[in-house]
Every structure is written in structure tokens, then in C-alpha cells.
């Protein structure tokens, strides 16, 4: 399988990349690690006339701490996320999630920015970004803007990203010390997308849950922020009854399509199991 012809560009700065996108309009596509786009191009489901490769943009390959935020450049690979001491200490759910994505070779190439910007409901990081209340920094011809992960996803491969824009950075508010977290993913094999997956971040003081966020992967045409499920946990002792209620509320918003991973009812069931396990594991980790 060979992609259709295109012209290749390797800009040296974000400004240069934006200028290329402005010049070539909707015939241009940005490529980060290429492990979603190149397969689509090989299948001729994507046929960009101009490919703008961001691999030289070292400015987008940084992981740093800012006041109140962890900031991750969009070109940071899954492999780099896994290896980051800073993230292991401050935001360990990222490492846990990255290790469940694809396989070692793909993780050397696949980027966080590509994973969150692609808009494929099978991507794992969007749900994690939702529970982390992350926002995406987006550069365009007219300047920069930020969009919250919870507002970014519109449909399958449809996001708030406009033509001519590049997602440059992921900004994660610093997490509460002692927070509990978990990403639970059921997949058929290494490299598969989730049958269903759930991300949970929560905090607990004196036995009572003080904050909780829940989000779901691959059970609708977008990742889903399960606001009601999270709210149902706050104020409880994270006992079996509270967890069962959160599971029910999360399952209520799931709208999976039947596919090779199972019928819709089954995938909704699995989503519930993933939510329960993620809450239990996060609760066990919360200080």
C-alpha cells in the first residue's frame, strides 16, 4: 500500500509551519509521529497534497513545570512520556496510559499532540486529558488560543481545531498532592483500541472523597467526560454503593457502536467494569 503523491515540507519553526498551512489551505495536513496519518494515507483514506512534518520543531518537544501547570509539548512521544521523571512524580496517570497504547515501536513515534488532536474516539489520551482538566494551546495565523480538553471533541475526527491551526502544547493544572488515579483499558490484544476504557482521578480527606473526575474512551463518537459519575462520588466514602451509582451514571452516557470488539450492550457493560476498577484502584492509591 503506497500513499498518493504529496509534496513534503519540513518547517524549522511553528511560524514557518503555520505559513505553509496558510499557503496550501485544506490540501495541507500536519504530520507529527505519523502513526495514525500514514496508515490512513496508505489506505488512501487521507490524500493530502502537502504534508507538513513537525519533526524538527524541538520547541514542541519539552516537558516542563510552570507555576500551577505541567506543560507538555505536542511533539513529545509516548516513549518520552513514559521515561519522564517529572511526569512520573507529578502526573503518573500519563505513564500508566502510555504503556497501554500501541506497542514499543509505535510509542517511539506516536506523540501526545497527535493522540489528542487526531479526534479518533479510539485514542486513549483525550479521556485522560478530560479528567486532568487539561487544555490545549493552539497556534493559528491570527495568534494563539486555548481550548479545554472537555470542550475540544465534536465527533469522529472532528475537533475544535480549525483549518490552518496547530495544537502546540498540552497544559495540565498541577494535581493535588496524594491524588489517586487510574486508567483501565480492556483491549483484545497489544496495539488494539479499547473495547472500553475509563480514566479516573480523585482525592480523599479523612475517608471522604473530596473531588473526583471520570471519563470514558471509545464508547461514543467522542471521548466522554462523565461529570455525573464523578459528582456522585464526591462526599462519599467511595464504598461499593457509591461506586455502583457512579458506574450506572457513566454507563448511561455511553453510546458505543457495535464492532469487532463486541455488540453495543457488551461494550457498555465493559465500560462499567472499567469505571468500577478504575475508581477502586484510584481510591487505593489516594493518600
Amino acid at each position: 500500500m503506497i500513499p498518493a503523491s504529496f509534496e513534503y515540507h519540513r518547517p524549522r519553526s511553528v511560524q514557518e509551519a503555520l505559513a505553509l498551512l496558510a499557503t496550501h489551505g485544506d490540501g495541507a495536513r500536519v504530520v507529527a509521529g505519523g502513526h495514525s496519518l500514514v496508515p490512513m494515507m496508505k489506505l488512501r483514506m487521507a490524500r493530502p497534497d502537502h504534508l507538513v512534518d513537525l519533526q524538527e520543531l524541538a520547541e514542541l518537544r519539552q516537558i516542563r513545570s510552570e507555576t500551577g501547570y505541567l506543560v507538555i509539548g505536542a511533539m513529545t512521544t509516548q516513549h518520552e512520556l513514559i521515561g519522564s521523571e517529572l511526569l512520573a512524580a507529578k502526573c503518573p496517570i500519563l505513564r500508566e496510559t502510555s504503556l497501554l497504547i500501541a506497542d514499543p515501536q509505535v510509542r517511539y513515534c506516536g506523540t501526545l499532540g497527535g493522540n489528542v488532536a487526531n479526534g479518533d474516539p479510539g485514542n486513549d489520551m483525550p479521556a485522560v486529558m478530560m479528567v486532568l482538566a487539561a487544555s490545549y494551546r493552539i497556534a493559528g495565523a491570527g495568534g494563539e488560543r486555548q481550548v479545554a480538553a472537555r470542550d475540544f471533541y465534536r465527533g469522529t475526527f472532528a475537533t475544535a481545531l480549525q483549518e490552518g491551526e496547530i495544537l502546540t502544547e498540552i497544559r495540565i493544572p498541577v494535581l493535588a498532592a496524594g491524588h489517586g488515579y487510574a486508567y483501565e483499558k480492556q483491549k483484545r490484544k497489544v496495539g488494539d483500541y479499547a473495547t472500553a476504557a475509563a480514566a479516573v482521578v480523585l482525592s480523599r480527606t479523612g475517608g471522604k472523597c473530596t473531588a473526583a473526575s471520570v471519563a470514558l474512551t471509545n464508547v461514543a463518537d467522542t471521548p466522554l467526560f462523565a461529570a455525573d459519575a464523578g459528582a456522585a462520588l464526591v462526599g462519599t466514602a467511595l464504598d461499593a454503593k457509591a461506586i455502583a451509582q457512579a458506574v450506572r451514571l457513566a454507563q448511561k452516557i455511553a453510546r458505543p457502536s457495535p464492532d469487532g470488539r463486541g455488540p453495543a450492550d457488551f461494550r457498555t457493560h465493559v465500560a462499567g467494569v472499567m469505571v468500577r476498577r478504575a475508581i477502586e484502584r484510584a481510591a487505593g492509591r489516594a493518600a
Partner: protein, 164 residues
């Protein structure tokens, strides 16, 4: 579409070839450079038979465009043995531990294992299995592949120790 002058360093040799940007790296290696060690298995980035080392990372060369690889440093199975023909510890180990049957996955397995041992010179069995989870073998059931990689780690460690 116009062709590009692709510059690569492959197995310690500078090479230049004329190709279309859309050509996949695996085709450049096999058809233009005559390096037929990396294989095309699934052509969909699942099986790992096309794995090569690119800029210090294991990549599936069926999912890398020639244009993306421009300027890269590559190592393929052809570059693993010493110039005098002495096999690399991994190659020797796959032979002595019967880490292959049909051999189709072997070049990918060995180049992947090479990078795994660079990053983790003393892996557990579980770490080896996780580390080669992007490479499929339909013959062996993996047991002897895992043994071979573990044994190669021991060989490399003792060579290193002897040198120190």
C-alpha cells in the same frame, strides 16, 4: 510529483538515493538499497517484521515515509554482525537457542531486541515479553525468542565486564 534526494546513514555507510517522498522506508531499504533483511509482513504496523533502528529508536519501516526518514541514521539486520563476519551476540543467541523457525520475523525481532537491550541491559522475562510485544512470531510461541534475548543480555554483560 518531484523526486527528492534522500540522504541516509545506513549500517554506518552514507547513502543517497532518488525517491518520491511517498515511498515507504521499507521499500527504499529493500528495493533501492538492496537490504532485504527487513521484511514486509502485514504492511499495517502490527507485525514488526519491518522493524529497523532509526535514530536510536525501533521503528516499523512500513509506516515511515521516505521523506520523514531523510537525514536519519539507520541500523538493519545487515549491520548487526562485525565487518569480519562475527555474528552479534543476539544473532548468535537466536541460533543457539533456536529462537526462530521459519525466520521471517527474525530480522525484526533481533533489531528490536538490540534497542531493548541498549535501554535495559538486564531485562526480566516480563520486560522482554513487553519489549517485543510489537513483533509477531507465528512459529515459535516466543519461548525460545525470550530465552535467546535473555541469554544475549548475559553474553553482552560478560563481554562488558571483561572489557572493564
Amino acid at each position: 510529483m518531484s523526486k527528492m534526494h534522500l540522504k541516509l546513514k545506513v549500517n554506518n555507510r552514507d547513502v543517497e538515493t532518488l525517491t518520491e517522498p511517498r515511498t515507504l522506508l521499507i521499500h527504499v531499504l529493500r528495493e533501492q538499497l538492496g537490504l532485504t533483511g527487513p521484511h514486509i509482513g502485514c504492511d499495517t504496523s502490527h507485525c514488526g517484521a519491518c522493524t529497523v533502528d532509526m535514530n536510536g529508536r525501533s521503528v516499523k519501516s512500513c509506516t515511515v515515509l521516505a521523506a520523514q526518514a531523510d537525514g536519519a541514521t539507520l541500523l538493519t539486520i545487515e549491520g548487526m554482525a562485525s565487518p569480519d563476519g562475527t555474528l552479534h551476540a543476539l544473532q548468535e543467541s537466536f541460533r543457539t537457542h533456536h529462537g526462530l523457525q521459519c525466520g521471517f520475523c527474525t530480522p525484526g525481532m533481533i533489531t528490536r531486541a538490540y534497542r531493548l537491550l541498549q535501554e535495559n541491559p538486564n531485562p526480566t522475562e516480563a520486560e522482554i515479553r513487553f519489549g517485543i510485544s510489537g513483533n509477531l512470531c507465528r512459529c515459535t510461541g516466543y519461548q525460545n525468542i525470550v530465552k535467546a534475548i535473555r541469554a544475549a543480555a548475559d553474553t553482552l554483560a560478560s563481554v562488558k565486564e571483561a572489557a572493564e
